[in-house]
């Protein structure tokens, strides 16, 4: 220390049995895991009513798995919350219910009742309105309904440029707004979780993970994920340059348009009408990892939601989107 007015005496090193070898730095996946577990435990230790956002995708799968590790042998001491737009893939709903049950956790499901009453959907109202009403507004309703003061989310900094500067503990106003001018500096591993009534914190335990980290971790931990991530013959149509899977009868088809079978898989999962598939024959985890390593486009490319307006993620976040 440059400024210390006295020399520092380091404690004498002691070799402890049974192993006295110098520990190599933790392999990076193990380090990511340990860091995420630390974050999850900080949330439970310091917040009064945390909840884990569960969106059923691969990142949620990893986050749920980490939570199980963090609190083992207890079940994670918070509920799972799924903000349901009613437009997810059918395979996602099946997976969600099974995972919550296996984890021994309470599963809370919230759908915006106003949006439901008005029949808001991506086909009839477009992705922007659908996302705002059924996701952003619904999320705020859910957080208020149960009075949560901390919401754990699976977002990663490598996903999108506006996420690159996001804090791990992201502070929200009582109106759930993200105020980028008013975020707290995060030094060391010292997270400031102090909030006032009505304020809340969104916490991102996977901040430092990349897409390939997620896949490799899923492989080595044998984490169950929705089968849609693996290539299979699926009924699709071509829309705005994306392969959209016809998952149920609500999908309106143009005159003369007929779904055809194609070997596709999904890099991200969301509402099926807004999620583009990629042509792929990667039907195993190792094949998916190989494809991801060789990928030439980013995973969010298949998402209609990010592209409907320039700088749209930034704007959505300020309005309270996760």
């Amino acid at each position: 220390m440059l400024l210390s007015t006295r020399p520092i005496h380091r404690p004498v090193t002691r070799q402890m049995s049974p192993s006295n070898r110098i520990f190599a730095p933790l392999a990076h996946l193990k380090e990511l895991e340990a860091e995420s577990i630390y974050i999850l435990r900080e949330v439970v230790a310091e917040m009064a009513r945390p909840v884990m956002m569960y969106s059923i995708g691969k990142d949620s799968a990893v986050m749920l798995h980490l939570a199980q590790k963090a609190f083992y042998p207890a079940a994670p001491p918070f509920p799972l919350l799924h903000v349901d737009t009613t437009w997810k893939f059918r395979a996602m709903y099946a997976h969600r219910d099974r995972m919550a049950q296996e984890a021994g956790m309470e599963l809370l499901i919230h759908t915006n009742p106003d949006g439901l009453a008005q029949g808001i959907g991506p086909f009839t109202h477009g992705s922007a309105v659908h996302t705002d009403v059924m996701k952003t507004q619904a999320l705020k309703q859910a957080l208020e309904k149960w009075g949560f003061d901390a919401a754990l989310g699976g977002a990663r900094r490598d996903e999108e440029r506006s996420r690159a500067k996001e804090r791990i503990f992201s502070f929200r106003t009582p109106h759930h707004r993200w105020d980028p001018k008013n975020q707290r500096p995060e030094l060391w591993r010292l997270f400031n979780t102090k909030i006032r009534k009505g304020e809340s914190i969104r916490v991102f335990p996977l901040s430092n993970w990349t897409e390939i980290d997620i896949w490799q971790y899923i492989r080595f931990e044998n984490i169950p994920i929705v089968p849609l991530y693996f290539a299979a013959e699926r009924p699709v149509v071509r829309r705005d340059g994306a392969w959209i899977m016809v998952d149920d009868e609500r999908m309106p088809l143009d005159q003369g348009e007929r779904p055809f079978m194609k070997s596709v898989r999904f890099r991200t999962l969301g509402c099926y009408p807004l999620t583009g598939a990629i042509e792929s024959s990667a039907a195993t985890i190792d094949a998916v990892i190989r494809e991801t390593l060789a990928a030439k486009s980013s995973e969010r490319q298949g998402r209609v939601i990010d592209r409907d307006q320039s700088g749209s993620m930034e704007r959505k976040k300020q309005e309270g989107y996760f």
Binding site: F23, P227, S263, S297
Partner: protein, 629 residues
């Protein structure tokens, strides 16, 4: 192509366990210091591009010229998506980028902009192992270069790369590079920055970034990427004596008590004798529990759960350490602080201090000097303002286990948090404990709280009744105590008015005094709970923060918050003590509900609506809750 899994089925790999994990790669976190003018964005962009961390759809956004012509790519735009935000006045302190090579996985912490530089750089530096300091070959070592180097050294970064950029603009001349490297070395020696590697680069053309430069045959050292991939980052932490701050106590049932945390130094194995600080009690490690099975040994960086061979007090904020080489426990320190808040530091003002997993109250007792980061001069000052670096003494309200920052970052670093705005206002590094605090030790007692409670045949509890004056707190608390007493439980009722006649008769009703009032009551309740009692506390306690503070003082599950609710109109109508009338008449100042706020509990353990429910019924519910827990 037939899918190996049904759409509805679980996917489960049958991958052989023997497959060697790709995770043998290590991770390097580094930061870049410099401005856009130094070619920083171009350098990072080039690094990402050359390591194939850029996707085509991202590239198409920034390719200005014809597709396929490499020169049309403006690398700086890859990372500089922040320009628009700067125009909007948005402060971005650190942006993170990720890339990976066959050897390592990297996190780049990038601190954009000139303004707020100290704050931004300190934030980035606190979480990295290496700093890349950029110097423009045209201008050489500048004031800001020295500032970057100084801050890196101050924050304990031991590895520095001096990247001399824009060599293409200086005809790749060796003497230019040699001169800059020598100038920097002279300064680095002065500030004890010992591991400096200087590399001449051109971000624009890629020279010595990922590929060896053909234009600089005189340079025989590594490329930037080579160096980042191979530099050995040695930490003393792994071989130091064992330290683990307790994050959270895992108690799923009566038979299991796991102390969870991340090991910040050394390693631990079952059978090791450890000590819990600051209490000073020893135990043997029984198990290291993880979901993947018990571990024979766990080392630095791992998040684990530890169980002991005996029951001793240990809770969040305590530090579990090697009993033969424990760290010091102290309450007053000399420190360096970096001020991050918009409001200046005020000596004597109480701030929250968080270090490792512990939150205590602290104040700056003596600001010795500020450091001019450009000249390293020491300046006398009364206060710290945004971006100031100061050396000061701080005093805590209770002793903590610590290490000097130079010895261990986790046990030697802290943040200060404003108690009103909750903003993080400073980051700090401990130098050493002040001598007078060495002599205050926490006396471990042989009869512990568990033993005292066991003799009474009860579990200690603190039942905290909060609500407006006149809501009925004391009435309900009284009934609860009678019912508990009748069941043979040992209780004590602490009441707001009574305490203010004695213990707290020196306190008024300003926000600061209300805070101190609750703090003292919390301490008393804690002692009583320690003695094994069921303590009933009936206080308006209007601030959520202080109720939270008291909750945090108690063992987990011991604190039960009871919100005795009545509307202000109803409480005022009852006005049992005639206080509302006086407050309305302006005879009492700072009266909760009238001219002082009441922050309703968000998630009380028990909610009592005194308009809907009788006091007796509520008391019965609370008693049930106490007995069953």
């Amino acid at each position: 192509m037939v899918s190996p899994v049904a759409e509805s089925g679980h996917w489960n790999t049958q991958s052989p366990k023997s497959a060697s994990p790709p995770a043998e790669k290590s991770r390097l976190r580094f930061m870049t210091c410099g401005s856009v003018d130094d070619g920083k964005s171009t350098l990072i962009g080039r690094l990402l591009y050359d390591t194939k961390a850029v996707f085509e759809d991202q590239l198409s956004d920034i390719t200005t010229g014809g597709a396929g012509t490499g020169e049309a790519i403006d690398f700086s735009l890859l990372v500089d998506g922040l320009a628009a935000e700067r125009e909007q006045g948005i402060t971005i302190d650190v942006a993170y980028r990720y890339f990976t090579t066959g050897k390592r996985s990297f996190i780049v912490a990038d601190t954009p902009g000139h303004e707020q530089y100290t704050r931004n750089m300190a934030t980035a530096a606190s979480n990295v192992e290496l700093a890349v300091i950029l110097v423009d070959a045209r201008y050489g070592v500048q004031t800001q270069t020295r500032r970057h180097a100084y801050l890196a050294a101050l924050m304990g970064i031991r590895h520095v790369v001096l990247a001399v950029t824009k060599m293409d603009l200086m005809d790749f001349a060796q003497e230019i590079f040699d001169k800059i490297a020598a100038d920097f070395d002279a300064f680095a020696n002065r500030i004890e920055l010992n591991n400096v590697t200087a590399i001449p680069v051109s971000g624009l053309r890629g020279d010595n970034v990922a590929c060896t430069s053909a234009s600089m045959p005189w340079y025989s050292g590594p490329t930037l990427l080579d160096h980042l991939e191979t530099v050995e980052i040695r930490s003393d932490d792994a071989t130091a004596p064992f330290r683990m701050p307790v994050q959270w106590v895992n108690r799923p049932g009566l038979s299991f008590r796991g102390f969870t945390g991340r090991i910040v130094a050394g390693q631990v194995a079952p059978g090791n004798r450890v000590r819990v600080l600051p209490s000073g009690q020893d135990a043997l490690v029984a198990r290291i529990v993880t979901m993947d099975g018990d571990l024979p040994v766990a080392g630095t960086g791992q998040s684990v759960a530890i169980t002991f061979d005996r029951e001793i007090d240990c809770s969040r904020g305590d530090v579990i350490v090697d009993s033969e080489a424990p760290p010091e426990v102290a309450q007053q320190f000399e420190t360096t602080i970096i001020w991050l808040g918009d409001e200046p530091m005020l000596p004597g003002r109480q701030y929250w201090l968080k270090t490792a997993t512990k939150v205590v109250s602290a104040d700056v007792t003596d600001l010795k000097f500020l450091v001019n980061v450009n000249t390293l001069e020491h300046l006398a000052a009364k206060t710290c303002k945004l971006n100031d670096i100061g050396v000061c003494n701080i005093a805590l309200d209770q002793p903590i286990a610590f290490e000097p920052y130079d010895v261990n970052r986790d046990l030697g670093s802290f943040i200060l948090v404003d108690r009103i705005t909750n903003a993080t206002v400073a980051g700090g590094m401990i130098h050493f404990a002040l001598r007078r605090s060495h002599n205050i030790h926490w006396q471990p007692t042989s009869i512990d709280r568990r033993a005292r409670a066991a003799l009474k045949g009860q579990a200690p509890r603190v039942i905290w009744f909060t609500g407006l004056s006149g809501a009925g707190k004391s009435t309900v608390a009284n009934l609860v105590e009678q019912k508990l007493h009748a069941r043979g439980l040992h209780t004590y009722l602490l009441d707001g008015d009574n305490v203010r006649h004695g213990l707290n008769k020196d306190l008024g009703f300003t926000d600061a005094d209300r805070v101190e009032n609750i703090r003292r009551i919390g301490e008393v309740a804690k002692l009583m709970a320690d003695a094994g009692l069921v303590v009933l506390c009936s206080f308006i306690s209007p601030f959520r923060a202080e109720r939270q503070m008291v909750r945090a003082m108690m063992a987990e599950g011991e604190f039960i918050e009871v919100f005795v609710d009545a509307t202000l109109a109803e409480a005022e109508r009852r006005d049992v003590k005639g206080l509302y009338k006086k407050a309305r008449a302006g005879l009492i100042k700072n009266f909760t509900g009238i001219d002082s706020p009441y922050e309703r509990p968000e998630a009380p353990d028990v909610y009592v609506d005194t308009i809907q429910e009788s006091a007796a019924a509520a008391a019965e519910r609370i008693v049930t809750k106490i007995i069953e827990v």
